[in-house]
């Protein structure tokens, strides 16, 4: 298959394209066969726990690590073996990596200088980048004289001044405190819309990934498990890991009965569409906010329903979070030997009637709100 784009393709060429990219360090496989396309102008988040290979993937796009296998193209150009100084990408490093012996202005001008842009032209571009990140007046300070948030802005300006085709960000908000982080999330998103550059963003914070990005790629143990919009990934996780990692969820273990029903270990057969063969081990993922609580016996007809007992009720101000024990120990009649106890977390708005620990309840959910996930 030829990768040469048609001459008038323009922005239809993906900004980043990976085919079977792997990276091994000795015996350790850091990235394992990743296939990924990131579109022009997209805000893409690579999400996963530490050590999942997301940073290595980013470093391969930057050229700081060379893939052991696979093809990597940036706007249609095969770059897998190019050194970092030849690639049209720039990086915002996790701890910013600002040059301590240079002023803010010198840091920002570094990339321009290396490409031979000097004099008035360079000064103008540095001034523009400084204004873009609102650092006017700080030009002659050293990085050590700036706060964490200001250093972050310098790192952004130092990368953006080069008008890279792709901007790579490695946990750029990780070193900031919570309030500043939330402000910067909004600002970064606005900045990306303003400059129109493709952003590839690495984070372990799923809330950050969902809040900021157009699409999310979830990684675990070197593999890319699912790519989709935040809503797709949240509402229809591709497997158990994604369901568990993105947001909070209840994973009810069971075995599929058919393509439309699952027998839960907690002792009920519930309707749930799935694409698995009958008899496969699977789990039903139900988000806490989708779980409905009813007084025992007042259950609505037609919805999957389990009996349980509230073991914990936590008041959060805007909501209650209940923990409900279900299954054999909940005291329901006719327990089966194979049935195992489970707990469900439910979340309800504060407006509804409060329930207390120890109350017998029934839980239900609408079948469309659940996803069946396998390993």
């Amino acid at each position: 298959m030829s990768s040469a784009p048609p001459p008038d393709a323009g922005s239809s060429v993906p900004a980043v394209e990976m085919h079977g990219i792997s990276k091994r360090f000795g015996d350790v496989v850091a990235v394992d066969g990743v296939d990924l396309q990131i579109g022009d102008g997209e805000f893409f988040a690579l999400l996963g726990p530490s050590g999942c290979g997301k940073t290595t993937t980013l470093r391969m796009i930057a050229g700081l690590d060379i893939p052991s296998e696979g093809r990597l193209a940036i706007f249609g150009e095969e770059v897998a073996s190019w050194p970092p100084d030849r690639r049209p990408v720039n990086t915002v490093f996790q701890a910013y990596a600002l040059f301590p012996h240079m002023t803010v202005a010198q840091n920002i001008a570094f990339g321009l200088q290396m490409r031979g842009i000097r004099g008035a032209d360079a000064d103008r571009q540095v001034a523009e980048a400084t204004a873009l990140v609102q650092l006017e007046g700080m030009e002659h300070r050293r990085p050590s004289q700036l706060s964490g948030g200001q250093q972050q802005r310098v790192a952004l300006a130092r990368a953006l001044v080069n008008h890279p085709k792709v901007l790579l960000l490695d946990e750029p908000l990780g070193a900031l405190d919570l309030k500043l982080r939330q402000e910067m999330q909004v600002e970064l998103k606005a900045l990306q819309r303003e400059v129109g550059i493709t952003f590839v963003f690495v984070t372990h914070d799923q809330e950050e990934a969902l809040a900021m990005s157009d699409r999310v790629g979830v990684m675990s143990e070197g593999r890319l498990l699912q790519v989709g919009t935040p809503a797709e990934v949240y509402e229809h996780p591709a497997n158990r890991f994604v369901a568990d990692f993105i947001g909070r969820t209840n994973l009810l273990e069971g075995v599929t009965e058919s393509s439309s029903a699952v027998r839960l270990d907690a002792g009920a057969v519930v309707a749930a569409a799935n694409g698995l063969a009958a008899g496969s081990a699977a789990a039903l993922s139900v988000r806490p906010e989708q779980v409905r609580l009813h007084r025992r016996g007042e259950t609505p007809a037609g919805a999957p329903c389990l009996d349980g007992v509230i073991t914990d009720a936590t008041y959060l101000g805007h909501a209650f979070v209940y923990t409900v024990a279900i299954g054999p120990t909940a005291g329901a009649s006719g327990t089966h030997a194979s049935e195992r106890a489970a707990t469900i977390t439910a979340r309800s708005e504060t407006g509804s009637a409060a329930l207390a620990a120890g109350e017998p309840v029934s839980v239900s959910w609408s079948p469309e709100a659940t996803t069946v996930v396998a390993d």
């Binding site: 970092p84 100084d85 990596a97 600002l98 040059f99 570094f110 290396m114 004289q145 990368a159």
Partner: protein
């Protein structure tokens, strides 16, 4: 009362420690003070005080033998410092960042000249030069000991000292700064020149000053590897002192002391970690 007793014991221990500290200071510095004071003595005789005068400094600087020894010392010190700073820095960089065959062996042996006794090093180098000259002389030239052999010997031990000091600096160096430079279109060479070198420069300068000091102060190795006409200042002082201490020697020694202290203090100042708010 028992706790009064402990307090008393504590107090006398404090006094004892204080006295000990003063004793150590005196032991270290009284001879230096005596040397400096008597270098300004007007008397012909070292141990008779006759009044303040700088005449011995004048005599020392007017002595052609002293001046020629000083010239040799400076030539040896400056040339050996330049060469050993370049080589020592290269060794430190190689050991810090490359994994190559023989790295462990080099890592273990590069510091040997620091621990080998001076006299061993001196004999070693003398034997080496003798054998090397024998070999080279079979092809024609007739090589002899001289300023060059002294300088080479000083390079041999100074490389180790420079490597140690520069490596300490490299340990604190953040490698992601180099990655950032590469990411910002700098070639490996420009990354070294614009980012790595400026940031390890204080370590290199400290190593160079240390090398300069060690070279200026060395007696044993210089005495063994210098031929006639290549007498360094410390070697001159050492040979003159056999005829008795003179006020002139006091003056020369005081000057050397001042130079050494200046260089060492400068070297230590450069080795201090960069302060966070300059």
């Amino acid at each position: 009362m028992s706790n009064l007793g402990t307090a008393g014991a504590k107090r006398s221990a404090t006094h004892l420690l204080k006295a000990n500290a003063w004793f150590v200071f005196a032991f270290l510095y009284v001879p230096i003070v005596v040397l400096v004071v008597f270098s300004f003595n007007d008397s012909e005789r070292v141990n008779v005080w006759q009044g303040l005068s700088a005449r011995w400094y004048g005599e020392a600087l007017g002595n052609t033998q002293v001046i020629s020894a000083l010239r040799v010392s400076l030539i040896v010190a400056i040339s050996s410092t330049i060469v050993s700073t370049v080589l020592g820095t290269a060794v430190a960089l190689a050991l810090d960042r490359y994994r190559f065959k023989g790295r462990r062996a080099l890592d273990g042996t590069v510091y040997l000249p620091i621990v080998i006794p001076d006299i061993t090093m001196a004999v070693m180098l003398l034997v080496f030069f003798a054998e090397a000259f024998k070999l080279i002389d079979t092809f024609g030239p007739r090589l002899t000991l001289g300023v060059t052999t002294v300088a080479l010997s000083h390079i041999a031990f100074n490389i180790s000292f420079v490597a140690v000091v520069v490596r300490a600096r490299l340990d604190q160096f953040d490698r992601t700064l180099e990655e950032a430079a590469r990411d910002l279109y700098a070639t490996p060479w420009r990354t070294f020149r614009r980012v790595t070198l400026p940031l390890i420069a204080p370590g290199i300068a400290a190593g160079a000053l240390l090398a300069l000091t060690l070279s200026l102060d060395d007696v044993v190795i210089s005495a063994f590897t210098a031929g006639p006409g290549a007498t360094t200042l410390p070697v001159y002082v050492f040979s003159t002192i056999r005829q008795g201490v003179t006020p002139e020697l006091n003056a020369i020694s005081t000057l050397m002391l001042a130079a050494s202290i200046t260089l060492v203090v400068a070297s230590l100042a450069l080795q201090r970690p960069r302060s966070t708010t300059p």
